[in-house]
């Protein structure tokens, strides 16, 4: 089935049933430096899994193994029911990848870049114009990529990842360094693909992006997954919820922060009953707070 243009949805083929990707106990070391140390997770069709961690946490090495560029030194990868070691080409034919770097050919046009990769996927039926329109590059498709802005290049790499109508999308820092409009556009495309049933693995060090896009989030640091759950559960279980109360006392603004624990009720009633109440704000823990709770350091 060809791309039908903007807004036309296609069904994802998933003969393996409920699982799009399974990584089991992945390990990889560059010499003495262990980059990935026993990473395991599963990804279902239509699910967005955010892999959240600071630079050097092992995200990119994990991605390289998942897309077949780097053979794991230990562990196994299964995509759509196929083992990576035995079916690498078949798996790659059904993967869409956005790399952290904008690895495009600058002297080719956006359309020529897409046409080349379509040939590598043996997809001659792709409607490149529709795809360019979908990422907002319809009017610039015949221009050389060297004249594109960073946001346009990133949108083109997203279009490239969608060329083969993938069942699994692997996105490595897809909005890194982009302006808010381009970033929003790419997040919209990710949501559309997930709604179509595509399994999405998203690496980012932007906690708000991970929180807003991901069905589940995995914290990774020093090559290990520290926690894996929905953003809500992570924040509820491991973050502190607080109430911030502001009052005017003797002409000065005074702020009190109450942690929502067993004794919070009495303290809050006391603050609210007092004179000079200005504002009351409830505050949820952020994924950043949860990461700090696990890793003992902030995301960089």
């Amino acid at each position: 089935m060809a791309w039908g243009g903007c807004g036309v949805q296609t069904e994802v083929m998933n003969p393996a049933g409920d699982l799009a990707l399974r990584a089991s106990d992945l390990r990889y070391a560059y010499g003495d430096r262990v980059a990935v140390d026993g990473v395991s997770f599963e990804l279902a069709p239509g699910e967005v899994l955010g892999l959240l961690g600071p630079n050097g946490a092992g995200k990119s090495t994990t991605i390289k193994m998942l897309i077949g560029l780097l053979p794991p030194q230990a562990g196994s990868i299964e995509v759509l029911g196929m083992a990576m070691t035995e079916h690498r080409s078949a798996i790659q034919a059904r993967l869409g990848v956005v790399f952290e770097e904008k690895n495009l050919y600058p002297t080719l046009s956006g359309r020529e870049n897409l046409a080349f990769f379509a040939r590598l996927f043996a997809r001659r039926d792709v409607d490149l114009d529709a795809l360019l329109e979908r990422v907002g590059l319809a009017t610039r498709g015949r221009d050389r990529v060297s004249g594109y802005s960073k946001g346009m290049r990133q949108r083109l790499t997203v279009a490239r990842a969608l060329l083969n109508r993938p069942d699994v999308l692997v996105l490595d820092e897809p909005t890194d360094g982009l302006d808010p409009v381009s970033a929003r556009s790419i997040r919209g495309l990710i949501r559309e693909e997930a709604e179509r049933g595509v399994a999405v693995l998203l690496t980012t060090h932007d906690m708000y992006e991970a929180d807003g896009l991901s069905d589940r989030v995995a914290f990774i640091d020093e090559g290990r997954i520290l926690a894996l759950d929905t953003p809500e559960q992570l924040k509820l279980r491991h973050g502190q919820r607080t109430v911030r109360v502001r009052r005017r006392v003797d002409g000065q603004v005074e702020e009190s922060v109450v942690t929502l624990d067993d004794d919070a009720g009495d303290r809050l009633r006391e603050l609210v009953a007092a004179e000079g109440l200005l504002t009351i704000h409830t505050e949820e823990a952020t994924l950043e707070d949860v990461f700090v709770a696990f890793a003992g350091r902030r995301l960089e």
């Binding site: 990848v97 990769f117 490239r160």
Partner: protein
């Protein structure tokens, strides 16, 4: 019909090559320059050595001597005064050396009276020429005096070891032909290296390898395109310089092997270089030793051993022998075999180095 990754990569690389203004410029300019140089060079070679002679009153004797010396590759030019002879030797256009005899030389020599003669040479003349001309003076004196040396000359048998090319002197045009062909091939090494290095440094190689395309597809595509680019340009130059007039199939095979050879080294240079400066550096590191055998062909004699072990020696030697001396398969097969072996080695080296580089990206 599904497109094979190799053809897709070749088509993409060809487009990138044609859009690279630098390589398009040096390719067109280079070919034009080589063709111009070739056709400007002399097409004929004069193997005789012109010697000036001033021998007052000895013109008849000289006429007889001229006929003998012409067979020995020496051309005698007679001058009527010492001043004219000196000026001609100094200018170096008409003669390379001169023999100047005084007016009394014939009479003095015939009567046994001591006399002298001058051998005129420029500072660049080899000492062996001075010795030879001194011997000519002595022989001339003996002939004039009607005497023979007090020895019986042994019979001398001249044996030329290897191929006798004494009477097959090549013109400058013929001598430079293999050098130009080799340079055209080697310049393509730069272009291929650039294509490979750019693919690695821009990390587009990772995007390719995340598709069903494999490292072997990339290697095959780069090798095929590099070989095709180098071969096609060498064939164009060969055609324009009227090289493909004899032993056409043999020459095409030689040029094809040459293209394969430089492609292997182009892959190596491209894998080692990460930017333009590094590509130029590594290409030059490979270019200099590879071009040496072609320069060695400009000088007579068998090249030194270190030149004969260079990868392009078989290529240069085969080109010289086929284009210059009209030799065929039966004569040049050892050099062709050597060239083929180097092709295999260079291709393997290029594949290994690029393959290792690609998986490390």
């Amino acid at each position: 019909m599904a497109s094979h990754p190799v053809t897709a990569i070749i088509a993409k690389d060809l487009r990138l090559f044609l859009r690279d203004r630098f390589y398009a410029f040096i390719t067109v300019l280079g070919l034009g320059f080589y063709v111009l140089v070739f056709w400007l060079l002399p097409a004929t070679a004069d193997p005789s050595i012109p010697i000036g002679l001033h021998l007052p009153g000895g013109e008849a004797l000289l006429a007889e001597a001229l006929e003998d010396e012409a067979d020995q590759g020496i051309e005698v030019v007679v001058f009527t005064s010492s001043q004219e002879l000196e000026a001609a030797v100094l200018a170096g256009d008409e003669v390379v050396a001169g023999l100047d005899f005084p007016p009394e030389f014939l009479a003095a020599t015939a009567s046994g009276t001591p006399t002298s003669a001058r051998v005129l040479l420029t500072g660049e003349a080899p000492t062996v020429l001075s010795d030879a001309l001194s011997a000519v003076v002595a022989e001339l004196a003996l002939a004039i005096a009607g005497q023979q040396p007090p020895v019986t000359f042994p019979e001398v048998e001249e044996l030329v070891l290897g191929v006798d090319r004494a009477d097959q002197v090549l013109s400058w045009r013929e001598q430079l032909r293999p050098l130009l062909l080799l340079i055209v091939l080697l310049v393509e090494m730069f272009a291929l290296a650039s294509l490979v290095a750019t693919e690695i440094s821009q990390r587009t190689i990772t995007a390719i390898l995340a598709t069903p395309a494999r490292v072997r597809d990339v290697l095959a595509a780069k090798t095929l395109l590099g070989t095709a680019l180098a071969f096609s340009q060498a064939v164009v130059l060969a055609a324009v310089t009227a090289t493909l007039t004899r032993q056409v199939v043999l020459l095409l095979v030689v040029l094809l092997l040459g293209a394969v050879l430089v492609t292997g080294f182009g892959l190596v240079a491209g894998s080692l270089g990460q930017d333009f400066i590094a590509i130029v550096f590594w290409s030059m590191v490979l270019f200099v030793p590879l071009v040496v055998p072609a320069f060695a062909m400009l000088f007579p004699g068998t090249p030194a051993l270190w030149i004969r072990v260079l990868p392009t020696y078989g290529l240069a030697e085969t080109l010289v022998r086929v284009t210059g001396y009209g030799e065929g398969w039966t004569q040049v097969w050892p050099e062709l075999a050597l060239l083929s072996a180097w092709c295999v080695a260079a291709s393997l080296l290029g594949a290994v180095v690029l393959g290792r580089r690609v998986v490390r990206v």
